[in-house]
Symmetry: C2
Subunit: 428 residues, 2 copies
Amino acid sequence: MKTLKVALLGCGNVGAQVARILLEDASVLADRAGAKLELTGIAVRNVATQRDGQIPAELFTTDSAALVDDADIVIELLGGLEPAGELIGRALSRGASVITGNKALLAARGAELSALAFANDAQLRYEAAVAGAIPILRPISDSLSGDRITKVMGIVNGTTNFILDAMDTTGAQFDDVLAEAQALGYAEADPTADVEGHDAAAKAAILASLAFHTDFALENVYCEGISKITAGDVAAAKDAGMVIKLLAIAERGENGIGVRVHPTLLPRTHPLAAVHGAFNAVFVEAENAGELMFYGRGAGGSPTASAVLGDTVAVARRVVSGGPLPAIATQQSVQVMDFAQAATSYAIGLRVSDEPGVLASIASIFATNGVSIEALRQTVNRDSAPAVAELRIVTHRSTESALSATVAAVAELAAVQEVISVLRVEGN
Amino acid sequence: MKTLKVALLGCGNVGAQVARILLEDASVLADRAGAKLELTGIAVRNVATQRDGQIPAELFTTDSAALVDDADIVIELLGGLEPAGELIGRALSRGASVITGNKALLAARGAELSALAFANDAQLRYEAAVAGAIPILRPISDSLSGDRITKVMGIVNGTTNFILDAMDTTGAQFDDVLAEAQALGYAEADPTADVEGHDAAAKAAILASLAFHTDFALENVYCEGISKITAGDVAAAKDAGMVIKLLAIAERGENGIGVRVHPTLLPRTHPLAAVHGAFNAVFVEAENAGELMFYGRGAGGSPTASAVLGDTVAVARRVVSGGPLPAIATQQSVQVMDFAQAATSYAIGLRVSDEPGVLASIASIFATNGVSIEALRQTVNRDSAPAVAELRIVTHRSTESALSATVAAVAELAAVQEVISVLRVEGN
Ligand SMILES: NC(=O)c1ccc[n+]([C@@H]2O[C@H](COP(=O)([O-])OP(=O)(O)OC[C@H]3O[C@@H](n4cnc5c(N)ncnc54)[C@H](OP(=O)(O)O)[C@@H]3O)[C@@H](O)[C@H]2O)c1
Ligand SMILES: NC(=O)c1ccc[n+]([C@@H]2O[C@H](COP(=O)([O-])OP(=O)(O)OC[C@H]3O[C@@H](n4cnc5c(N)ncnc54)[C@H](OP(=O)(O)O)[C@@H]3O)[C@@H](O)[C@H]2O)c1
């Protein structure tokens, strides 16, 4: 049986588990891959760090370039743009294949690196980069290759799902739940990348590129995080039989491909509404297959390592036997949908003075802008003087541009005290 | 670009949709496959039947053998053991690759046909055979190839899920819901194969073989259908926060691999509990990945055709470029778990006379057999004379043999009027 040299870059949360499995399960992996996978070294920043005692100390090195130059397969689990990008480029240029979980790098340079892999007859796989353990990239690009995907909606960030789920369950405010999530290790000390949707946006760009056989640039992803979601928004959603989730949405419409990340109202009966805690799930709509959903752990050392090893076995099988490269994503040039043309329905919360004619003037602004109202609920608080009413409006499908013009005009009305929230609605 | 000759066997629910997509989407499929897929003919029983007018009449033939002998790729959608088995064998023996959705044939002869494919360097793929449109076989055998699957639990029969879901929603009896399902086309005139679990058992054998890299014979699948489930069982489950689903369960334990199909109580919070109507879903537990679930349409012409075409593109790519064959299932010999040793927890319903000491004698029989009681609820009906009580007992994990000995002994007690139901419980 052939032996393939495997270089591991990084021995953190994920890398340490990949090393453990490569060592512990060597014979099973060899059976499945058709080749022995020999771990030749592990690149880290600091060789002196005390680590899991099961990994032989002589494997650790800081000379990542030398490791890469001697490998058949490189597993990159450093994170960050550099030196990860340079090392992956170095490996692919030599014809070595690469497995990575680095969504930030892929969202920035995925098309370029895929092309480099293709040009060198090397493989580049990254199942772990989106939704951790969940097999989602291969099903999208392989299993659904005989179909046409029309829409992908994913809960792809565990931190924000944990926070929103806890807000839904406990009724607590965002800041309190975030602090709890940080204490439990579900959120980082600097939670910006998760909470503001940047992590989800990178994954959305990767999903869109594979689902629509194109190269969708990160800068074209509309991105809005969850830090402005209040306990009041969550309670109002609950009243309406809905739940708020941060979704990464990629869809193909008449005007091209639109990709957006934002807090979204979903009916509680939607399969994505049942995704709790830090779990992830990706909902896919395809012309023939209809609705599909893939559910599982989106992060964590061992779950993510499972996806990395699945890719490693696939890569090894092809290194041994040759055969077709995975389809390369950038087959079609992309027409990016102008975000102003994206269409969905909206839930709008307004605080208004409880005086005659307010409802009529609001409704007429909606009508003038061509935004049709599906449902409206008014709650009057007569204890405050003068009396105040809270309006919750749900619209039919309308474009972003029509909606924002409507909200801007409504906000100008003297009787409108506050626009409490504007949330997009899916699945209804 | 190379052209591959594709022979389609069958033009029924699924075959007609496969033909439509091959003709309508020819250029997209060619892009993805790296070869033109030329539909050379469609074998049917009766050429004269009036069919979808979009398919050129000259494609239809009754000479399936001639069609097979001229093809690079054969798509078998006839159903049944013969002539499907003979035609698949004929194709593989010539080195032509085969895509099929025929679970009955695969459960009976899958290992033999896989070996034949392997020996002839041909491919045999059958994603459509289990859970229709849901990509489940490739994720199990490819994406999870670097992991160890410990358990698979699937709702893999849409008819029975439709019936159980309707019983749960409406409180109606089995017979009434079955009649409605037949009227709506969700159940066949002869519903035996679905309702008695035979269809699910075939899929369970296929899932177990792939998940555990072995050849699990259909005759070793324990199979129990849903025809004895009453409205009372459904209501009692509801009271306990549970729902009844027909599950196909494959698990690896200390005593080997056990595969069983039976009605199962699941907590309403379990992801499988949210699978409604005729939808399917497969829940997978793996050592590193943890819990995963795959959800979608389990049947229907277009959804099933999506899976067939996904396989067809994969097969074509390898025919064009060579490369590794899909892993062959029978790598390890199988140790079949004796069903008597399978362990789960149980929910037992008993009708007993409301007299002193009954509970004590029942509890002592459980204790003697080593079956430990987790929960017990007694409802006394004093309107009947003499008074009657209904006991609902949930046990801790116990083996089938201990449980059946317990139930037999309990049934012997003079005070026990009826064993209302014995149901297995998962996910609690
Ligand atoms: N964690 C997850 O659940 C998860 C899930 C999906 C995808 N991912 C992705 O997987 C990748 C790794 O994540 P992680 O959580 O395992 O990261 P981590 O815990 O921060 O580990 C990073 C590792 O890389 C090493 N490293 C960093 N910079 C280096 C450099 N310049 N030269 C050599 N070694 C260097 C570190 O060495 P030292 O140990 O010496 O500091 C450490 O071992 C990231 O791209 C991440 O986005 C992670
Ligand atoms: N239906 C689903 O949703 C579904 C889902 C998953 C898997 N599957 C599997 O897919 C397969 C096909 O199912 P289906 O529902 O499409 O079946 P179907 O509607 O009964 O169609 C069967 C087709 O095969 C042809 N045929 C049958 N025996 C033949 C013979 N001896 N020679 C030539 N042609 C013959 C029939 O010809 P005529 O038209 O002339 O009668 C018909 O076109 C089965 O294995 C089934 O288990 C089906």
